[in-house]
């Protein structure tokens, strides 16, 4: 048992280099170039001056809204954001703000950069187009399940828009191995009887591991009964070959997935 866990630790030591590595060019490439770093920086000042009073510095002080993470009640696209800031909502509960176009750009840019003044704004596209890509050219639906439809082996995405911000979603699409949560790492185990089991890890402790196998069955394996046990850092998902605009649309669709109302 202890040999197993040591093996896993050794293989994970490589993560240090991954963390220390330079920023990936892909993030720049897929950035929303309407929004410059100057715009993001300007937006941070406007946000603090005009928005933070109600929404809070972290963007989560209004019920049902978490601006930094891209969680809104009614809006989705950048255009929606511009409109709601300009016109207000809920009969004055959120007032209309008279901002110059570059100021408006700045606030949206700051939001899309995840409130990081030094960050990169993530392009968020059209959810309807994104859904079509998700189910078609993107080949996402062949592994991921949404609202009860699709396979169970990859993580269910029905609520992904409520738990991931645009930057994290973009990272997953462009570089899945840099975004793979440790718990979701693929497992390969060989039992004493010679059965090879592959699947996605659901839980683990010192003596056992729980997973969903490639046949979509829930399995619980006692480590002492295994002759081989490997945890891979490489996800089954590969980096997307979609265009920047298509990725933006898929992000728009994923952000719209918030589970049951």
């Amino acid at each position: 048992m202890r040999n197993f866990s040591r093996a896993v630790l050794l293989c994970c030591a490589a993560l240090g280099t991954l963390l220390a590595g330079p920023e990936r060019g892909t993030a720049q490439e897929f950035a929303d170039h309407r929004y410059t770093s100057e715009a993001i920086e300007a937006g941070s000042r406007i946000y603090v001056a005009d928005c933070a009073l109600c929404h809070g510095r972290g963007g989560g002080d209004v019920d049902g809204v978490d601006i930094r993470r891209g969680v809104f009640r009614t809006v989705s696209s950048d255009e929606d954001l511009r409109r709601i800031i300009t016109t207000g909502v809920d009969r004055g509960r959120m007032p209309a703000f008279d901002l110059q176009p570059f100021e408006l750009d700045g606030v949206v840019a700051y939001i899309r950069a995840g409130f990081d003044p030094n960050g990169v704004a993530v392009k968020v596209g059209d959810a309807a187009r994104g859904q079509a890509i998700f189910q078609g050219a993107g080949d996402c639906a062949s592994c991921h399940r949404v609202n009860g439809q699709g396979p169970l082996t990859a993580p269910d995405l029905s609520e992904i828009g409520a738990i991931r911000n645009p930057a994290a979603l973009q990272r997953t699409l462009l570089d899945p191995s840099a975004a793979l949560l440790p718990i979701n790492r693929p497992i390969r185990a060989v039992t004493r009887s010679g059965e090879t089991i592959r699947g996605r890890r659901l839980n683990e402790d010192t003596y056992s591991v729980q997973l969903i196998d490639s046949e979509e069955r829930l399995r619980s394996l006692v480590k002492a009964d295994l002759v081989e046990y490997e945890v891979s850092e490489t996800p089954i998902m590969e980096p997307t070959t979609l265009s920047a605009d298509q990725v933006a649309d898929v992000i728009g669709y994923l952000l719209s997935l918030r589970g049951l109302p």
């Binding site: 994970c12 963390l19 840099a178 440790p182 659901l202 683990e204 010192t206």
Partner: protein, 560 residues
Amino acid sequence: MNTVQRTRLTGLALKGLLAFGPALLLAPLHIDAQVDSDRIVNSADEPENWLTYNGSYSSQRYSGLTQITAVNVTDLESKWVIQNQVFGAWQSNPIVVDGIMYVTQRPNDVMAVDPVTGRVFWVYRYDNSPNARVCCGANNRGVAILDDKVFMGTLDAHLVAVDATNGQLLWDTEVGDVNAAYSITMAPLVVKDKVLVGVGGGEFGIRGFVAAYDADTGEEAWRFYTIPGPGEPGHDSWEGDDWEHGGAPVWVTGSYDADLNLVYWGVGNPGPDWNPGQRPGDNLYSDSAIALDADTGELVWHFQFTPNDGYDYDSVQVPILVDIEWNGELRRLMLWANRNGYFYVLDRVTGEFLTGTPFVKVNWSSGLEESGRPIPTPQPAGSPTWPGNQGGTNWYPPAFSPSTELFYFSAWEDYASIYRPAESAFSPGRAFLGGGFDVLTPVPGAPSPGIGRTTPINNWTDVTGHGTVMAWDPRTGQTRWRYEQFDVSDGGMLTTASDLLFTGGREGHFHALDAQTGELLWRASLGGQIVMAPVTFMVDGEQYISVISGNTLVTFGLRD
């Protein structure tokens, strides 16, 4: 045999009874069961009792009981459980005195329990002020006993004495100002005729202290501030008025050497926690071991582990006192696995530093000077610091076995944090943190281990930290053996004269390991996090082991 008889058995009487055979057990006995300080000094003479938080004044958590052995440990079975009705990490350490167990439950209830059946004699409930503030949960780690009184510190920083027989409140003394966020979570330490206690509040800008109270009246006998005031030695390790709200709490029970008449305490972090630049200087006596005269509270020596700490490396570990041969000479030593990742050996007569060795990866310091002072190597902004914020180890009690001469403790390995220092304004009773930190994870925003386990799913996994029971040889500065777990562990240690080591962890596994080799001899899956050390005791000739897992106190004994 009825319970009243059992409650009146002293250790000495029990041994006498065993010598005369079981017939005498039927005779009614009314032997005075008063616990004086001398009984605690000589606790090794009555291993059937667990008289104080750490089992003895030397805090070794080593029991002389040998009925449970490596051979029969697989015959352990659950005898009874108590379910705590208040949820949250149950960190209490039971004491067992002459056939009665005293244990606290959240937030500040004392229970007297029959340790054979688990049935409760009485419950004393303390009503805390609604203004009580603690950083890290409504914890209480247990009681102390002296004569016929049981003592408990409270979340609103009071010390109370209750009658050991009926749970009636006898006195209630304010130790610290609840509105300034003083609190007490530790089990008090009784020495002679006094009750000693320290205060928590290191995240709220308190000025820490240890104080002693007359056990009969609750009147304060002495108070030692862990931050020296103007004119006192060490005051110049602070600038301006930083000392007034510099933290340095004392929130874990200390140790006592009766021959030297010294009490030893570990002192917690300076405040604000993560912004050392805001409080220039060494910030004495934060992150230090202190030795105080037990009668007067006067400081006799100190040793600071982490000057000007920016990592929350509280030195609130239990000071373990051992008398062992050191370089050919029998010496009075203090052994200390520190939250900062170094294992220290100190001379407990003088405080002299003898040696210090990292037991986990350490990069906040490149080593220790000859004096034991660390050579600081602060990491660049955004880079990880090892060990991380919860430390290489923490408050959970270690153990030392005079039989194996090994020191046992829970270490967090492969665990680092990225610190974000920021200016904090001090306001009495409010959080005073100086920024924050993130645990190093392989993916931004991925789950990471926190202060306790709140979910049955370990979605942070071992890549963000895992727990190891270390059997440390203080002479070689190396582990003799290691027992790795997948999750991090806050499990304390219990070792016995039959060379067993009992401990648990966040996964809810309760382990019996061979204290010599680390071999797993027996385990039970108890389901909830184990965040305190087990204790052992004997009643009516049967050895028991109690451990708290989640919200359940389980007592094991050998199968009938």
